[in-house]
């Protein structure tokens, strides 16, 4: 690992675990997509659920790409390395989540406004004609199991490696299983002759996805604009960033301290002359979180404008 490249040894095992979880996500969610595709028939609700599941692969794919980039060393063309690839991946993942929410909202609202009555008829299997709704419910029940399990396993890993892409992916899995439940409620609603049940359930879920996505997008933009590091699940400043600012101010007086986040790593700038005894990352962040601080710079004459 160098200052601007590679994955810190302290989190290398967890990042690899995150990558394994994302490969599992791609495998299981692909199986869900195939099953839903086979049973979707003419149902708009099922079609939306398939598209939702398809888009839900985006965070997993960008996480895997970003982890590859992160391992690359800086070079003449990219002297600061590729760690910000993670920030870019986060923006893409948040945009994918927003697209899912916006798409589902649009679908549900148009179904309600046009008063479309969904048709779910019979399908003949092995000589018996059964209601396709039962097969759809079975596919939807299957579709909610992998995301519930994977989402719960990912959450603590994302917290440990401060990975917003993995965290957004866990949110995406929440969207997946909630959409699956809404889909089941919708199909049962169709079965009971309530044409509006399906779209209404989907609309509530869609709005909650949009809310999560807008929050994630806010954070992604903050990260790309060199904002002070944010918490994983909200746009508030992260606790370790606030602690680091306090520690630096305690050491160097009431000077200006700027922190920014490059992917999962913090870069700090302090407006004071370089001290004789430069502290280590462990001195400032503690042993466990020392990997988070990638660089610390001192700027002696911040008041002079650049020539």
């Amino acid at each position: 690992m160098t200052v601007h490249g590679g994955i810190a040894p302290a989190i290398a095992a967890d990042v690899r675990r995150g990558e394994r979880l994302e490969w599992w996500t791609l495998f299981w969610m692909s199986s869900v997509i195939v099953l839903m595709w086979l049973t979707m028939g003419a149902s708009q609700a099922m079609k939306s659920a398939v598209i939702e599941d398809f888009l839900s692969l985006v965070p997993a794919i960008v996480f895997l790409l970003a982890a590859r980039w992160e391992r690359r060393d800086p070079n003449r063309r990219f002297p600061f390395g590729y760690r910000r690839g993670n920030s870019l991946a986060f923006l893409i993942a948040a945009t994918a989540l927003l697209s899912v929410g916006a798409f589902l909202s649009y679908e549900s609202i148009t179904t309600l406004v046009r008063r479309e009555h969904p048709t779910v008829g019979g399908v003949t299997l092995f000589g018996h004609t059964v209601w396709l709704g039962w097969l759809m419910i079975a596919a939807l029940v299957y579709s909610i199991v992998p995301p519930i399990i994977l989402g719960r396993i990912k959450q603590p890993v994302a917290e440990r490696i401060k990975d917003k892409v993995l965290h957004t992916d866990a949110l995406m899995q929440k969207a997946d299983w909630q959409t699956g439940l809404a889909g089941i409620a919708g199909i049962v609603g169709i079965g009971l002759g309530w044409w509006w049940a399906d779209a209404t359930a989907a609309l509530f879920i869609a709005l909650s996805i949009v809310k999560d996505a807008l929050g994630a997008l806010d954070q992604a933009v903050a990260e790309l604009l060199d904002g002070t590091p944010r918490k994983l699940a909200s746009n508030d400043l992260s606790d370790d960033a606030e602690d680091l600012i306090a520690t630096l101010k305690a050491r160097y007086g009431d000077v200006s301290v700027r922190l920014r986040e490059t992917g999962r790593y913090i870069d700090a700038e302090v407006d004071c002359p370089s001290p004789a005894d430069v502290p280590t990352a462990a001195d400032l962040m503690g042993d466990d979180a020392a990997w988070r601080l990638a660089s610390l710079s001192f700027r002696p004459e911040p008041s002079d404008p650049p020539a």
Partner: protein
């Protein structure tokens, strides 16, 4: 949320256990039973409509009703079906018919599904959302093709 999951999962399954799924969104089957009449349009130039009319006649009889022919042609007929002014339309429709999302088309009655999705063949069109009627007639079509 996670703690409520089993209950949430159970609710639709309990509901699903109810008899009589699926039901019609517009109550067509009940209306046919109540009024004793099933209103059917046979599109003009459907010389081979007999198997479809026979099937619908058996469906109506099972609901204590008889088939009443309504005269209409072209898009008028399909609009009447969409509005629920008739219960079924018999005619030649392609699998890729431009109307396929507006109405519920059955499988072909007398042939297998043609390889060419644009080839019109004898089918029964039902009103969207009338899922009890759609399933019952789908079953009868599957039996007729056997």
């Amino acid at each position: 949320m996670m703690r409520k999951m089993p209950a949430l999962l159970l609710l639709p399954l309990l509901l699903a256990a109810c008899d009589g799924m699926p039901r019609d969104a517009g109550g067509t089957s009940e209306r046919i039973s109540r009024t004793g009449t099933m209103r059917v349009i046979v599109l003009p130039a459907t010389p081979d409509a007999a198997p479809a009319l026979d099937l619908l006649g058996r469906y109506a009889a099972a609901h204590g009703a008889t088939v009443a022919r309504v005269e209409a042609h072209g898009e008028h007929a399909l609009h009447m079906l969409e509005e629920g002014d008739v219960d079924a339309v018999v005619g030649h429709f392609a699998k890729a018919s431009p109307w396929k999302t507006e109405i519920a088309l059955s499988k072909p009655l007398t042939h297998g599904e043609p390889d060419d999705a644009d080839m019109p063949v004898l089918r029964i069109a039902r009103r969207n959302g009338e899922n009890a009627l759609v399933l019952a007639t789908d079953r009868m079509v599957a039996e007729a093709r056997r």
